[in-house]
Point group: C2
Chain length 311, copies 2
Amino acid sequence: MDITVVTTRAEALREAIEGELAERVPEHVSLRYFSDPGHLDAMALSAEVALGAPDVLAPLIASMPSLRWVQSTWAGVTPLLEVGQRDYVLTGVKDIFGASMSEYALGWVLAIERSVLVHANASQWEFRIDRGLSELRVGVAGVGSIGSAVAGSFAGMVKEVRGLNSDGRPAKGCHSCFGTADRLSFAKNLDVLIMVLPDTPGTDGLVDARVLSQLAPGALVINAGRANALDLPAALAARESGQLRALVLDVFDKEPLADDDPLWAIPGVYITSHTAAPTRMESIAGVFVDNLERYLSGAELEGIINFERGY
Amino acid sequence: MDITVVTTRAEALREAIEGELAERVPEHVSLRYFSDPGHLDAMALSAEVALGAPDVLAPLIASMPSLRWVQSTWAGVTPLLEVGQRDYVLTGVKDIFGASMSEYALGWVLAIERSVLVHANASQWEFRIDRGLSELRVGVAGVGSIGSAVAGSFAGMVKEVRGLNSDGRPAKGCHSCFGTADRLSFAKNLDVLIMVLPDTPGTDGLVDARVLSQLAPGALVINAGRANALDLPAALAARESGQLRALVLDVFDKEPLADDDPLWAIPGVYITSHTAAPTRMESIAGVFVDNLERYLSGAELEGIINFERGY
């Protein structure tokens, strides 16, 4: 059986699969790796299985008539959804980002609420008593597998954790959950809003001026999901007015963010480089080989994407 | 019954006790507050109960012949131990610092291991994949109530948590515990060493050059307990050689640290202003009133200090 692997980080993925996982790939399975999609040959295009980055795979799948299963190396699969082709099974990587995203969110909340940034840059004694986390209300917008992990990491440290999802169904790690229709109630008096929403039509501009106006004065907003979900001009206005104490952004309409982008210079706006939950090739390789074993044995795959919902 | 309250923050403590807790203090109990120990009158010195800061109380207790119980407002009670007088019951505040200390330790570990400080000061895109916390070995030196809370806050996020205490008895939150005699084994290959040791004769210089040499290359050391436990020149040498990636210090032989102290300027040395686990007056007041109810009913007090052990 032929598997085509195509992603700009193909060599790192090859190392991860041919390393510790090598003995779990049967001999009759042949993986071929491409870091440049322009180099795919006829054999690569006739593969039954593809593993790769959604943006690289999207323009190729119409030319892959034998394709039955695509394993995405990203959690977000929007580029593949936009192609419209749905005659294959698409699986995403869901459960490998929760820990990393939790570290990111906790790290930034503590950096700001416990004055880590202030002390790191101080050159004299500055005694202060921060309010700490115990009295904070935290909201996680997007409580799928990643968001639930984030919610759970805060649950024992703060006063309240609320979740936001499409229909308000209960989610792990959250004391209460709200549907997107109730997002103003979700946002009411939150001290911290952590956004880990996927890029779907339903999330466009979900956190807008009205939602931001519901937050507690001096709230902290972190967007580590996708850029489309946050109305950035509204967030910057809220930051400038002091309604927001800080705005931490990991995702942008266009990445990398240009060196001369004005965002870099705004006080209280912290920028990270899409590093909140980076794809570790060892994790991707593990998810893929687990699913490969299921595929070969005819079992149901993990992480199947519903094309209608988009996740 | 007369209670003398003496601490430089007496007014804040009065507010906390006379606020939400007022109705739990019986009418026959009279509290008198002094922020200046020089103002204590004969009635104050004849009190049966004292509540206050150990350094302020230490020179006074020999003049307080009716004293039966002293509630310290600090976790560390060394100044009172040094007086030598032991004809009263001394209680400390133990369980109110765990959450704050955990926030501090997690905040600094994440700030460094997840490059929060790097990104906060960056002015251009810098994609990097940090190793994160999941593969780290973390050691907590001093696993009493505070240290166990710290250990527990890391337990689900890292590979291994080790504790150090006097005799290696098991402690909550730790996968394994070591006694001080085995401190080299405790330190072996630790990526993060968090010190929350009390200031007792047994902890002087406990973390010295030999202990530091056992840590994993590029380890992070955080001292948020007491300054005496860390051999600072050895730690600075280890930082300079690169054996330590970073050194985070919250406690110093002399506080506040002078503006011209060379420590402020050493790269990779981060200084906080004894703010790791600040005394919140509301918490102190709560511990005191809880214990007062026990005292009045004849029940055993919480947090009794063993004068021999010093904690």
